[in-house]
């Protein structure tokens, strides 16, 4: 008994000693890539998708890269410290996976020009700092068409995380797509003001269903909370980022999937080549970052044909869902007839289109 305890002790100390000496001697440094995530790394959702986006880098670079994945990091001073630590440990590419990391990540980028920072959903840009966001609206427009086609009540709902432009646009495009099939549809939104609170999200979904909504858009939830509640209640649902079909086998309408690997890979390639230039990366179907997958077989064939046509036009750039005339929810003009809204205006959108009945939180 005593012998075993001594052995364990000795081996622990030996391991500590080995770890310390390993720190001293490091010859050919592999490129360290750190990914900081706001929620637990689950089987589905935002954080899961970001982590998957690293796979092609792994495949291409092999042992020449190392990954440090930091999950469930609350936005705030702790996140700043953890990012600082990751960079101090020698990571040269930092992927900050949530808006709230912006200030801390930008400080790191300014302090150390040799570090490349990719930041989700932000608006700040620096020579070594790129914000990135997905054109979810391209996919939600298509799912809006599908939603209007399968809805019997003409009432659609969305459980949405935060009233930020990225998610406002996804609700707006969803509404416009639905109106393209049924001009009379109405869309209700519940802003839950959290990225990760399954119980609250589920309650919001149930409230929308109780109001008569029979298609629910799970707008940026990181768990199948909303999707599972809808399956249980027997209404159709869809979500962003990664497919949750297994949680709603009969009522799953589809998924606006994101694949960050083309962007991550290109950014790391540029970092290695020394040619990285920070820029606002607003990426969509044409960039192969956004794609709708797992279409439901409940969608009528003629609507599905229209959806496929619209999808092709969005992919080749000949159609922008935000093409006027678009009226705002307050009846003022949003986009003039014949005008297609530019990316810069879409990124900053802070109004709802007519048809969204819930006012934006002001």
């Amino acid at each position: 008994m005593i012998a075993r305890r001594t052995f364990l002790q000795t081996s622990a100390f030996a391991a500590i000693a080995a770890a310390i000496s390993a720190r001293g001697a490091s010859a050919a440094e592999p490129l360290g890539i750190a990914l900081v995530l706001p929620s637990p790394l689950g089987d589905v959702g935002w954080s899961h998708t970001l982590a998957l986006g690293l796979d092609p880098i792994k495949a291409a670079y092999g042992d020449a890269v190392t990954f440090t994945i930091l999950e469930n990091i609350a936005e705030g001073p702790d996140a700043d410290r953890i990012m600082n630590k990751a960079v101090a440990d020698g990571n040269k590419v930092l992927i900050a996976g949530s808006f709230g990391y912006q200030n801390g990540a930008m400080q790191i980028a300014k302090r150390d020009p040799s570090v490349t920072v990719l930041h989700a959903s932000g608006f700040m840009v620096a020579p070594n700092f790129s914000p990135f966001a997905a054109k979810y609206f391209q996919g939600t427009y298509l799912l809006g068409m599908a939603a209007a086609a399968v809805s019997k009540t003409g009432k659609l709902g969305s459980v949405s995380a935060f009233a930020i432009p990225e998610l406002i646009t996804s609700v707006n495009a969803f509404t416009l797509g639905a109106q393209a099939v049924n001009p009379a549809v109405e869309v209700s939104v519940v802003w839950v003001n959290t990225w990760f609170d399954p119980a609250k999200e589920q309650e919001a979904a149930k409230a929308l269903i109780a109001q008569g909504c029979d298609v629910i858009f799970s707008n940026a939830q990181d768990t199948p909370s909303v999707i599972a509640a809808c399956e249980e209640a027997g209404v159709h649902a869809f979500n962003l980022n990664s497919s949750m079909k297994k949680y709603a086998p009969t009522k799953y309408l589809g998924c606006v999937a994101t694949d960050w690997s083309p962007f991550f890979k290109a950014s790391v390639d540029a970092h290695v080549a020394g040619s990285f230039v920070g820029a606002n990366a607003f990426l969509g179907v044409a960039d192969k970052v956004v794609a709708v997958v797992d279409w439901s077989s409940d969608i009528p064939a003629e609507v599905m044909t229209r959806i496929t046509e619209a999808e092709a036009k969005i992919a080749d750039g000949s159609f922008n869902p935000f093409t006027g005339p678009i009226t705002k929810a307050d009846d003022s003009e949003g986009v003039a007839a014949g005008v297609a809204l530019a990316d810069a205006d879409i990124i900053a959108m802070d109004w709802h289109v007519k048809g969204v009945t819930t006012p934006l939180p002001q």
Binding site: A12, A15, A19, T68, A163
Partner: protein, 355 residues
């Protein structure tokens, strides 16, 4: 049969050995966990236990985290010793942050050296005001302060959300629930250049000193303790019972509010949703780990902060999942609580006959 028997006097030897025993037991049990997970236990323990002290930048982060824990725990311990249980330091912390933020939110262009001290004063007042409600209800209506302070914390979170989603939202912030970034003069001066440690660390040590003087040296404190511990005896002696309740809650709220103000005017630099990572609750543990003694709390807040920083390090450097970090931190506390039992109790082997 083995029984716990109360010692005639607390064992000094056990008091010293308890933390070491706890640390040893936690390391041993988690070693098994880390090996089973396929992690290199040497690298994990290095990151968890040694790395916070190996570099100045790492150590400075420990000090940064010590300040709010120390400040809040000192305030709470005063009440806990008089058996007035303020569990709502989290809410008082949030109110402190809100009150302090009012200055930069309404006067974002203001300059001058008065701003950050004024914010700290505002924060302390805000925290104390939030504690007025439970104190009043306890004294007048005999409402349990544990429940009221706890529920006041839930209200504080909603108030914070309301302000950030509504009137105090940064107009240029793309609708994100956060205030404007504070101007330079609304930030507490840094104590050591190149780190994030600010003047609030000095305030925390000052609070510890004041608490020590108060607890050890004053007759007022004696009256106060009796008022909380033995209300009837206090009434007999002419001491006020409600005075103990008012003072406990107001001092606790004051300290927590000050810590909240120092957090937004320090490392955060704006009012946002996640201003606290549970400091108000962690400080309760810190207060008891420190034996409710002002000097013990200095040590326990420092240890707790080091444990947090070590946990973060283990995630970053040793690839340890966040859940395993929590298991280690939790098991260390459990072993410590088990170990300190033996300061006042000892094991006695009895004849074997069931009692």
């Amino acid at each position: 049969m083995i029984r716990l028997v109360r010692r005639d006097r607390a064992s000094r030897r056990m008091a010293v050995a308890a933390p070491l025993l706890a640390l040893f037991a936690a390391i041993l049990s988690n070693l098994i966990l880390f090996v089973a997970m396929g992690k290199d236990p040497g690298a994990v323990f290095y990151a968890l236990l040694l790395e916070p002290f190996m570099t100045w930048s790492g150590f400075s982060e420990v000090l940064l985290k010590t300040a709010p824990l120390l400040l809040i725990a000192q305030g709470l311990a005063i009440g806990f010793r008089a058996k007035v249980f303020n569990i709502g330091a989290e809410g008082q912390f949030i109110l402190g942050a809100i009150f302090a933020s009012a200055i930069p939110v309404y006067f974002p262009q203001a300059t001058g050296g008065w701003i950050w001290p004024a914010m700290l004063v505002m924060g302390a007042i805000g925290g104390a005001l939030w504690a007025v409600v439970p104190a009043f209800w306890r004294v007048r209506l005999n409402a349990n302060e544990i429940l009221v302070t706890l529920m006041m914390s839930l209200i504080a979170v909603q108030l914070l959300n309301y302000l950030l989603l509504g009137p105090w939202k940064d107009p240029m912030g793309f609708n994100f629930p956060q205030s404007v970034m504070f101007q330079y003069d609304a930030m507490i001066p840094i104590l050591f250049p190149g780190t994030r440690v600010n003047v609030s660390l000095l305030l925390a040590f000052l609070a510890a000193l004041l608490a020590w003087i108060y607890m050890q040296r004053s007759f007022g404190c004696y009256q106060f303790l009796v008022g909380g511990l033995a209300p009837k005896a206090a009434t007999y002696a002419g001491f006020s019972q409600s005075r103990a309740i008012w003072l406990s809650l107001l001092i606790g709220g004051f300290a927590a509010g000050l810590a909240g103000a120092a957090e937004v005017a320090g490392p955060i630099g704006q009012l946002q949703r996640s201003i606290s990572t549970g400091y108000g609750y962690a400080a309760i543990i810190v207060a008891y780990l420190g034996g409710l003694h002002p000097l013990g709390i200095v040590a326990s807040s420092f240890l707790m902060a080091a444990l947090y920083i070590g946990g973060d390090n283990a995630m970053v450097s040793a690839d340890l999942p966040v859940a395993a970090v929590r298991v280690f931190q939790g098991s260390l506390l459990v072993f410590y609580l088990a170990a300190i039992t033996f300061v006042r109790f000892r094991l006695v082997r009895t004849g074997g006959a069931p009692a």
